[in-house]
Symmetry: C2
DNA sequence: CTCCGTTGTTTGTTATAACAAACAACAAGC
DNA sequence: GCTTGTTGTTTGTTATAACAAACAACGGAG
């Protein structure tokens, strides 16, 4: 009987290495780990309360995705973004996300458009109230609402990868950036263009949004220690 | 033989999971595994003569890269490419490889150009002699010679991922395709455009090359069982 | 003959232990 | 005082065993 019940209920038990992967990914995105920091397997395993095997699996996956890099001893380290790497990521992002916006304009559905506009209103509300704690989530949902409309899974997957790569840095700056009201107009314009079915305009707006944020981020490169000017970015043992 | 020697003697101390990863990747690219086939860990471990742990690592990495998919039981299966997926991959490939060609034209170096033309001549020789055994390697080197010229590591990495995804299918058809002399002119034209520094032309030629091959591949979809028309693509348990 | 339950096997998952290489620390020698 | 060799610790790698879920095969009941 227990067997029959189990067969009927369809228990879905998520593997531990998947949990570790999600937790690690979210912590990375939240900027919880400093760039260049090493992530020892046993420490993570202990903090998660599991063995090192699933942690190792999660790390392997993240390294394969380019979200983590591997240091000298094959140790996983959170990547340090140089200005050059940020520019390269921006180039690829514009190419891919621009194309996704173009495709989204081609086959936009009313339901998705409605969700987009709802997100737009929510974001504007949040800006007026200056309550930006959940802004990042809505912002992410808005962008990926557009990209999902393109209905090209490979493209969506790659854009997610790109967001993961520049995630911590972007998450740190977007709230500051958005208070200057520089991003919202692009968002609204992109949404309008998609509703009109104007693919070129949608692509242009998304590209402008991405490049604007990247420019702002780059201008802050020296102010905050978020991204490194040089590629070395190592801990100098000497000095004061 | 190299791997046997490496196994007997301790020449290189490359991790085992790296070896497993490379061997699996090459076998996939060579089309050694039928699409839809499951890859049990213990079988692979036995065939490699190692434990299942490094094999599992390699599989995890390949799944994270999208080179392998995971089936119902989290089992790794070699992905079956549907026509729709192939079209989506082609879209992203055109976007990314086209941009790479454009960037390559912007900062082309004489040494790389020389290597490109050498590859071009080798390919033409091979076509005339109809000895296409090593053609795929040269073809791959030619394309990635262009993409490496763009000097954008993230872009190069993503293009490599895309090639891996449609690898087996493409490897199977390219030799047939190239005997029709349909691809070489695009290659030569792209090379010329890069030398002239004409980014737009280089992009157009690469895009034409990719789309031409994709069209040809799609026309063969029904003839050979390479790609599936439908998404199911189940494994027939019946006779061999 | 067909349907269903039981059982044995397969297979992915996780934990643990043994191992090896690299870094840190400390002590001896010049 | 500085360098160097040795040792202890840290940390990634690999193998192995125990485990659980799913599939296949077999046998009994209707």
């Amino acid at each position: 009987m227990a067997k029959a019940a189990a067969k009927l209920k369809k228990i879905e038990r998520e593997p531990l290495w998947d949990l570790a992967h999600v937790q690690l990914r979210d912590a990375l995105l939240a900027g919880h780990f400093a760039p260049g920091r090493a992530l020892p397997l046993r420490d993570l395993a202990e903090s998660f309360g599991i063995s090192i095997t699933p942690v190792r699996d999660a790390i392997t996956r993240l390294v394969a995705q380019g979200v983590l890099q591997q240091g000298p001893r094959n140790a996983a380290v959170v990547p340090t973004l140089t200005v050059r790497e940020l520019r390269n990521l921006t180039i690829v992002r514009c190419e891919l996300e621009g194309r996704a916006a173009r495709e989204a304009a081609a086959n936009a559905d009313p339901k998705g458009l409605q969700a987009l506009q709802a997100g737009l209103r929510t974001m504007q509300d949040m800006i007026e109230r200056e309550s930006l704690t959940r802004y990042l989530d809505v912002h992410r949902e808005f962008h990926f609402g557009i990209y999902a409309m393109a209905d090209i899974p490979v493209l969506l997957e790659m854009v997610e990868n790109l967001w993961l790569r520049c995630g911590p840095v972007l998450s740190f700056v977007v709230p500051h950036y958005v208070l200057l009201r520089k991003g919202t107009d692009h968002h609204a314009a992109a949404c309008d263009a998609i509703r009109r079915g104007d693919g070129a305009a949608a692509e242009a707006e998304i590209v402008a949004d991405i490049e604007g944020a990247a420019r702002y981020l780059e201008s802050l490169a020296d102010a905050h220690g978020i991204i490194q000017r040089s590629a070395v970015a190592s801990v100098r043992p000497g000095g004061s």
